[in-house]
């Protein structure tokens, strides 16, 4: 019997009540939101509960929503995969300005580098991470470049024409 989304929703709601919300089928992947306080337990439950068995963390990344309200400025997105049933799941948690959340490196070792990447690009602080430092950008960088307030282009550019980089409204 395949793992039904309704069953996943029921199991999670039973266990976590109001800490899991906004269940929906979005772009072919069942998506839910968890509160920052519950996220670690939700991930652990999804991984360790026998009949859910989301034992594989496909991806972990951040998103910046500068236009959202204060408590929803950042999102951390966890993509999980049950290989046995071939069911995927997307878990989101929303964070305020100066985002902080609990690391899941104790559950998934692969989260180590993914969380470092999220720190590098979004400045999301994963509490309890064994070595939270930049992974792709140079160590001297002060900004978190994927946040919307930082410009994409390099400040030292000298001979670049904005028209050729799609940075003007009309390219002519």
């Amino acid at each position: 019997m395949a793992l039904e989304t309704a069953y996943i929703q029921e199991k999670l709601s039973q266990k976590f009540g109001n800490n899991v919300l906004n269940f929906e089928m979005k772009r072919d992947i069942f998506t839910l939101e968890a509160t920052p306080n519950a996220i670690h337990d939700v991930i652990r439950f999804l991984k360790e509960e026998e009949d859910l068995n989301f034992h594989f963390l496909t991806d972990l990344t951040g998103i910046h929503f500068p236009d959202n309200d204060e408590t929803h400025q950042f999102a951390v997105v966890y993509q999980m995969h049950n290989w046995v049933e071939n069911v995927r799941l997307r878990v989101k948690t929303f964070l305020p300005e100066n985002p902080e959340t609990v690391t899941i490196t104790d559950l998934f070792l692969c989260a180590n580098w993914m969380e470092r990447e999220a720190w590098d690009f979004f400045g999301i602080n994963f509490i309890g991470h064994p070595q939270l430092k930049r992974i792709l950008n140079m160590d001297e960088m002060v900004s978190h470049p994927m946040r919307k307030e930082f410009p994409m282009e390099d400040s030292g550019r000298t001979d670049k024409d904005d028209r050729f980089f799609g940075r003007t409204p009309v390219n002519n």
């Binding site: 792709l136 950008n137 900004s143 000298t158």
Partner: protein, 181 residues
């Protein structure tokens, strides 16, 4: 020698007499340097593939005295930077340049090494001349092997006419100082 196809480099201007040939030391040193440039490839992306073609038999950079590709910076003369240099890579490129012994020359091959190219972004160095001095820029994305060969020939021209005292001149020291080298 009669049926050989070997091209000899023409001797520099000078005075020939019976059993002697007089010329300027500058010209002899320049000629020797220009025809034995050891390249040090610093290839990070597609321009590096073009360089491989340049070194291979069809284009054969060895014809210009660059047979010996040096993978150690110390004996190399000509640093060829081919490809996108990210800001994280910049200190390494600098270190390689610092490890080369004088006299040393730099060719920036391709749009990325010359100016950052299409990568108008925070993570990419906007031209290697932000961190090290460059002698010859080869345009193209990527340049054809002919263009790379042309770049090397342009550099040979620079090398041939360079004064042996240039590396001790205050202007040169000032240039290095402007890059904090």
């Amino acid at each position: 020698m009669s049926d050989s196809k070997i091209n000899m480099v023409a001797p520099p201007e000078g005075v020939t007499g019976e059993g002697f040939f007089a010329t300027k030391l500058n010209d002899v040193v320049g000629m020797a340097r220009a025809n034995s440039l050891w390249p040090l490839p610093f290839a990070t992306s597609c321009c590096g593939i073009e360089f491989m073609a340049t070194m291979a038999s069809h284009y054969d950079l060895a014809r210009f005295g660059s047979e010996r590709v040096s993978f150690s910076p110390r004996p190399a003369d000509m640093l060829m930077v081919m490809g996108t240099i990210s800001k994280k890579m910049a200190p390494i490129l600098r270190q390689v340049y610092e490890q080369m012994s004088e006299p040393r020359w730099v060719i920036a091959v391709g749009a990325c090494a010359s100016s950052g190219g299409v990568f108008d972004t925070y993570s990419v160095l906007q031209g290697i001349d932000k961190v090290i001095p460059v002698d010859v820029y080869v345009p193209g994305c990527p340049p054809r092997p002919e263009q790379i060969v042309d770049g090397v020939m342009q550099l040979q021209e620079l090398v041939r006419n360079e004064s042996v005292r240039r590396r001790n001149s205050p202007e040169y020291k000032e240039l290095l100082a402007s890059y904090n080298l």
